[in-house]
Symmetry: C2
Subunit: 456 residues, 2 copies
């Protein structure tokens, strides 16, 4: 079954891995202003790499944020055009002290490559590029027309790519998109993701006194913004994880009975998941719904941190003048970020305790989406995956959000093939992020065979 | 009326102020490990200064924490002995960006001296020392026997001095204590503090998953420790500031009708206090009780900060593995810290949401206390204060905690005269802490006249 391109990929695996490591050494954390130059460096590295392997028109598309990377190769007359998407930015690496090795010094251990961004998403971006390189090196050409568009703001809302896609530029004209930012449902199980949650990421800021006050002198008279914030958050969802914002569930479309049945047949053990992946005393969530239903098809609300006040070691007896909470909500079809934010904001203002001012800010947002599974690209993908992995593809959703998938559909009319090679235990967004080395290898081969299949 | 010592103080005021500034330049923040050497430096400065002015046996008393400073002068045969107490440590200076000038570069502005520790408590400690220096310089001796004991852990629970006092050492044998760590009720109004709240300062730590998780992938299944913590805190007190811990109020002794009547006659306008001191939209607190009652004679609960999770700029979609809250409670007679902590801890464990582990840690604690007003030292103090300030003394309580006052009573049998010269708007524990320059001057004179009065 192995094509010349697959052979090439196998022969060059060590070099491919070294090149991935080089990219992982660049701390391209998009949310931190101090890493702005690193983001540019990662973008330039990718642009240079795309040029080196034979892609054309490789360039950075500049913005106020981090640049997009574009390249194309459009010489497969009569063949479809793919728009290949990935992101070169990564999440912050804190808490640093929980990493077994420094986050930007990639190390191999137990068949995995550990580094921030290994699975999310540099490993997958490099797999795409190495597939293109292998095809080009083995055949002197690509089997279909290819456009590549990488972004550097996926972890911070993707404003630059969203604006660029919304402007419908000629150089994004394509027939479908290949998005590699998802994971296999289980090791060795080829997987296509066909549904994503949307999200709104917000900040709640509560202000009480005009300045920090001594909690001895003023305790009992001055409002405590942290207590007020806790009272607000405690009223956002109940202990069954049911969100208490009035009207929040109005637009929720439940999964079809067929989809639910397919999910039930997936190899998934909730107790195993609790023990191995989550590691908590017990799982939480809405009663009567499976974990997959709760994480894929139900809106959720999380608090990510509560900055402000005294956070050092020991004691400081202060009533802080203000407190903040980072709060996000995951959305499902057919909820919209605008409506969700409006409901949330007006509810928070309604329940705000006396004595404090509350501000609700939207940091970023993205739509939920569902992909139809009956198009030729999804079919070609399942064929390619069966060849490489020797198994039938499972169709899953993801609880995460890839807003660009909705944008590709809405603005460019492109169906997305979400073919990713991460694993559920890759610790993305957490300490000790990893990418399975075998998945990196088979990921490259999967993309090669997928493009060949579409072009055949 | 002015004694030779008072004359000396007035003549040397500029130098006294310079010496206070020098002490304020030492960032002796007791809670921060990186300022440990600064705390020692402040202690050594005070020891050297005590030796310089003619005190004897000046020395540091070492501990695992920050050293105590001791000195004495015991040549007033037949006269009482005072134990003079103050502290050289200060609160952290964050949030730094709200200071108009750097916290450890004292500046004079509008009749005030601005610096961290200016009022709490270095300005008052220096006032005590300068009173001793003036008495010694003017008369070649002191009017009564004097022991001085300064500590460097007042802001972090005072463990060293508590242990030292509890050991009842011979060199603390005295008749009464002079504690200068309080404030005037209003500018120009001589004030003795005769009641203090106690406290327990705690950390609540909530742990959910074994590691940080992606809120898209795991939102809806993994427990969110910040949400759990908010749910716990929201159940610690209601929106009327009533603490919901069962049994918490059982031991509360209300102030006497006479005390309440005296408080009502104090020059205090709650609306003015709200606007000028607190600056919040409205005050909070238990309905039907005055602000003074709420802050002096009722237990309260505050949250100082909630460390953990993501607190940077922008967005990180993480479900943190753990979250923490710094929570303290102020106690009133006859509550005990041990009992309050026990009730709090068992209540928190009882209401802890499913899926998370909760740990409750006691960081430090102090007893509430009430001082009898009919002893000869309080009487002498009111005479001295009348001379210096030209007004009758008011007796107030403080919402703050000075645990050592209870220790002096319990272990050494010493009544405390809490004669302090701060002002309610001194911003202690907050940005732009200040000490009124006139109060520094009259504070020195008040201590001089008080010691002369006791010795006469």
């Amino acid at each position: 079954m192995s094509s010349a391109a697959v052979q090439y990929a196998r022969q060059n695996h060590t070099r491919f891995l070294d090149e991935l490591k080089a990219l992982l050494r660049i701390p391209s954390i998009s949310t931190l202003p101090e890493n702005k130059d690193d983001c540019r460096k990662a973008a330039e590295t990718l642009r240079n790499e795309l040029t080196r392997i034979g892609m054309e028109n490789a360039r950075l598309i500049e913005s106020e944020g981090h640049p997009l990377v574009y390249a194309d190769w459009l010489h497969a007359a009569g063949k479809p055009t793919v728009l290949i998407y990935g992101h070169y930015d990564v999440q912050p690496s804190d808490p640093l002290d929980e990493w077994l090795a420094p986050p930007f010094e990639p190390v191999e251990r137990d068949g995995n490559l550990y580094a921030r961004g290994a699975a999310d998403d540099k490993g997958q971006v490099v797999a795409q590029i190495k597939a293109l390189e292998s095809l080009m090196a083995a055949n002197g050409k690509l089997p279909i027309n290819v456009r590549v568009l990488f972004e550097g703001e996926e972890e911070v809302g993707g404003e630059t790519i969203a604006n660029y896609v919304a402007s419908k530029p000629a150089d994004l004209k394509a027939d479908f998109a290949l998005v590699s930012d998802t994971e296999l449902f289980a090791p060795g199980l080829p997987t296509l993701c066909v549904g994503l949650r949307g999200m709104i990421y917000t900040e709640l800021e509560v202000r009480g006194a005009k300045t920090d006050l001594h909690s001895g002198m003023y305790g009992g008279a001055a409002p405590n913004p942290f207590v007020s914030l806790c009272q607000i958050i405690a009223r956002l969802k109940d202990e069954n994880e049911h969100i208490l914002i009035p009207g929040f569930y109005d637009d929720v479309v439940p999964p079809s009975p067929e989809e639910l049945a397919a999910w039930r047949s997936l190899p998934f053990d909730e107790e195993e998941y609790r023990k191995k992946e989550v590691g908590s005393r017990q799982l939480v969530g809405e009663p009567g719904l499976s974990v997959l239903e709760r994480t894929w098809a139900r809106p959720t609300l999380d608090v990510h941190g509560m900055p402000g006040g005294f956070t050092g070691a020991g004691a400081k007896t202060v009533i802080p003048a203000k407190a903040m909470a980072k709060v996000s909500m995951r959305l499902v079809p057919n909820m919209t970020p605008a409506r969700a934010f409006e409901l949330y904001q007006s509810y928070v203002q309604k329940i705000a305790p006396a004595g404090v001012d509350v501000e609700v800010r939207l940091i970023h947002a993205g739509d939920a989406c569902i992909v139809a599974v009956n198009n030729r690209y999804i079919q070609a993908a399942t064929h390619a995956l069966h060849e490489v992995w020797g198994k039938d593809t499972v169709f899953i959703r993801s609880g995460g959000s890839i807003p660009i998938v909705g944008d590709f559909d809405r603005h460019l009319g492109l169906p997305s093939v979400m073919m990713g090679f991460g694993l559920p235990d890759d610790n993305i967004h957490a300490p000790n992020e990893k990418f399975n080395l075998k998945n990196f290898e088979l990921g490259i081969e999967s993309v090669i065979r997928f493009l060949e299949e579409v072009g055949s």
